[in-house]
């Protein structure tokens, strides 16, 4: 029996003349993910990529696990390839579905006849195959409204493909088709989710992290790297920038009004990130803020931080509740890492009563009490970079 993985694209299928570009990037991304799992052959037709394992060692289960994390794929199905005839389906596919069908009570058959020259029409094929399945598995009953299992028969150009389950893909569009963004990654729950969401729209991701030893520990940094490793399962390799931030935080503490600590700190972070973007030609900044979540994420506070950036600041979580954000973070398996209890740069010098509605003039005046420019330049200069790859 030959198994083959079918990946159906989502919205790429709707693209016009650009479609090919998107497809090329998607296939390249898929190849990169699967290359360690064995040899596969890739073909595409009719908005589907056919992935065919070429050697027996190729691990189809693992390949599907990886494909679930490739943006641009809407549905994945694991299909049995058979001869394009009713006998072919009966001899090859029907026995191969045993595992799924033995655990089910009801089923239905759906047919897609992409090859319109096939001598039976879709409903006729469904009827025939349904009959074969009933003969082979007498315990089953047909239920067309709410079946336990939907068996999908696809009649395509060269072969027929039969599958019994459709797996949801990651959705979105392929990474590398939408430019490059710099994510401010703190170590909390929100920022990895923001990174995931922006990457889902095809954006290549860089991450920037601010560390303040000895106020923050080595473990805090390792935690952030672990988060980046998890994100990299979706986004591919991530360039990670780690900014030494101790000096700046100390000077804020020593010189600026306490109620503005957080907002000034965030402005300086933005400024540094913006400078690195300028240097590395990154088009935009991404943060995990959501309106009103904490004092520094009020509308007024965001207005005050945005003005220092010379490029758009995207906030994919802006309208989400914490519970919705947590649901995504569990899905991408960053939650358990995010809740490890280490101090991060944002929690070091939190003011007792931060200003929730800062006014831009006051903030600028507060920040002007110390000349941060040399320190900012230093921080940009001494930023440490490394590439982070997915570990699994």
């Amino acid at each position: 029996m030959k198994e083959i993985i079918l990946c159906k694209y989502g919205e790429i299928a709707l693209k016009g003349l650009n479609k090919r570009t998107f497809e090329d990037v998607l296939v390249k991304n898929i190849k990169r993910r699967l290359n360690q799992l064995g040899k596969f052959h890739y073909t595409r037709s009719q908005s589907t990529i056919y992935i065919e394992p070429l050697d027996d060692n190729a691990d189809v289960d693992k390949a599907i696990d990886k494909l679930k994390k490739v943006f641009g794929i809407a549905k994945i199905s694991r299909s049995i390839e058979c001869e394009k005839s009713l006998e072919g389906i009966n001899n090859t596919a029907v026995p191969a579905l045993e595992d799924t069908l033995l655990g089910a009570r009801t089923f239905k058959v759906e047919t897609k006849r992409a090859d319109k020259t096939f001598y039976l029409k879709s409903p006729e094929i469904s009827n025939e195959v349904g009959g074969m399945i009933l003969d082979a598995y007498p315990h089953l009953e047909v239920d067309v409204h709410a079946p336990d299992v939907v068996v999908l028969v696809e009649i395509r150009e060269n072969n027929a493909y039969v599958s019994a389950e459709k797996i949801d893909g990651a959705g979105g569009i392929p990474i590398g088709t939408s430019g490059r963004a710099m994510l401010l990654l703190s170590g909390g729950i929100d920022s990895p989710v923001a990174g995931y969401m922006i990457a889902k729209r095809g954006v290549v991701l860089d991450c920037i992290h601010f560390e303040s030893p000895p106020y923050t520990s080595e473990r805090a940094k390792l935690k952030v790297i672990k988060l980046a490793e998890r994100m990299a399962e979706y986004t591919g390799r991530i360039k990670f920038h780690c900014v030494p931030f101790t000096k700046i935080q100390e000077e804020i503490k020593n010189n600026c009004p306490e109620e503005l600590f957080t907002i000034i700190m965030r402005r300086l972070m933005m400024e540094i990130a913006d400078k690195i973007c300028e240097r590395d030609r990154i088009q935009c900044l991404v943060t995990g803020e959501s309106i009103g979540q904490v004092a520094s994420q009020t509308m007024s506070a965001m207005v005050c931080t945005d003005v220092v950036a010379n490029r758009p600041v995207f906030r994919p979580l802006i309208g989400m509740d914490k519970s919705e954000i947590i649901a995504v973070s569990r899905k991408i398996e960053t939650f358990d890492i995010s809740i490890e209890p280490y101090e991060d740069c944002c929690t070091v010098f939190t003011p007792k009563h931060p200003k929730t509605k800062p006014n831009i003039k006051d903030v600028e005046a507060g920040q002007a009490m110390f000349d941060f420019k040399p320190l900012v330049d230093d921080a940009v200069e001494n930023t440490f970079c490394e590439f982070i790859e997915a570990k699994r």
Binding site: D61, L102, G103, S217, E218, R219, L222, D336, R392
Partner: protein, 381 residues
């Protein structure tokens, strides 16, 4: 010295000895300490975790370190009793389990649980359908070993668990994989198990360390409480040296599983062939068995007498399982051995260091024993 008692414990490999002593000398800090020394110890623990996860083809978050397989088995059973077992009071197991599974279940039986012990059928083997049919809607846990520790018989748990999971997805499946890990090709997926117990000292690592694999999404509640180590599942400062030794041993042996398996097959086949011609000596065979363990019945000689006789000649074997220390084996009885055979069955268990010539020596000494000892055995009967 000829050591044929590798199912009781193995000689730690050089890599493990070095890792343990290195950790004791230089990496002795508490992994929970916030400082850099603590971080170093934590990293040692986590790298061992990753190696072990990889050997089961799973993620490192699924591995929890314990003090050994007994603790892993207890944790698996009592935790399930506390979670799903609050509503469902039935446990399915087999009659041939290790005491570290049977005793916790016995305790639970005294506290309101019902246990079903699936027995080998007439052919001396366990039918997967028997395990499946013992499970019902009221079952919280199915627990079976992969390889029987006294006979080497391989239980059909992969098949049975697959069917159980299909019929009752909420039932927790636990596998005591101690005699199978690093000896047979297994992975967390292929065993269809939610929980898997592993031991360090059966695979050339140090004693005092084991692990429990917990499938993602399966909830495990602690049995002992304290500082919340191992994500709260197993409190108590991690035994960094033992864990490091365990990891290194797994790393050293995970690549040679197939090669060692082949060698063990040669050894056990050789033993089988050579004993065929010896009167009164029988190697007990199963359709599926681990070549690492051989159960040998020598008629009319008490196993303990034979054990000590062989020991005088530098050959170390065991009578039944080392853990039962001379008690009559309930496991062999469950396999359908008669009392006389139980009394005169010894266990040989091999490691990669054993040679064919050692088997020749063993057979020679058994023949000597038959010549010298048979009378004693007969008198006693």
């Amino acid at each position: 010295m000829i050591y044929f008692d590798n199912a009781a414990t193995t000689k730690p490999c050089d890599e493990a000895v070095k890792a343990v002593s290195d950790a004791l000398k230089t990496n002795w800090s508490n992994p929970s300490s916030l400082h850099g020394l603590g971080l170093k110890a934590e990293q040692a623990v986590n790298s061992a975790r990753e190696i072990i996860a990889k050997s089961l083809d799973t993620d490192s978050e699924c591995i929890y370190f314990t003090s050994g397989a007994t603790e892993s088995n207890n944790l698996a059973i009592f935790s399930t009793a506390k979670t799903i077992g609050r509503h469902k009071k039935k446990i399915v197991t087999t009659a041939i389990e290790h005491p570290s599974v049977l005793q916790p279940i016995k305790y639970l039986e005294e506290n309101g649980f019902e246990a079903v012990y699936v027995k080998p059928d007439k052919s001396g083997e366990i039918n997967p359908a028997d395990i499946v049919s013992a499970v019902d809607d009221n079952t919280c846990l199915v627990t079976c070993q992969l390889v029987n520790n006294e006979t080497g018989y391989i239980l059909p748990i992969s098949k049975a668990y697959k069917a159980i999971k299909r019929l009752y997805p909420k039932v927790i499946t636990h596998c005591d994989c101690v005699q199978g890990f690093m000896k047979l090709n297994v992975s967390a997926n292929s065993l269809n198990s939610d929980l898997i117990s592993l031991s360090g000292h059966k695979i050339y690592g140090p004693k005092g360390v084991g692990a429990l694999y917990v499938k993602k999404g399966v909830r495990v509640l602690p049995v002992n409480f304290g500082g919340g180590q191992e994500k709260g599942v197993r409190s108590g400062t991690e035994a960094v040296p033992n864990i490091a030794g365990f990891g290194v041993a797994v790393e050293a042996f995970s690549k040679s599983i197939d090669k060692r398996y082949e060698k063990m097959c040669e050894l056990s086949n050789y033993l089988f062939k050579q004993t065929e011609t010896v009167e009164g000596v029988k190697v007990n065979k199963f359709s599926e068995s681990s070549p690492y363990i051989a159960s040998v019945t020598v008629d009319n000689i008490k196993s303990e007498t034979l054990l000590h006789y062989l020991e005088q000649n530098g050959i170390y074997v065991s009578s039944g399982s080392a853990c039962s220390k001379g008690k009559k084996s309930g496991v062999l009885k469950a396999f359908g051995y008669d009392d006389r055979a139980i009394d005169s069955t010894i266990r040989l268990s091999f490691s990669y260091e054993n040679k064919m010539s050692e088997i020749d020596e063993f057979i020679k000494q058994v023949k000597n024993a038959q010549a010298e000892l048979v009378k004693i055995g007969q008198k006693r009967n």
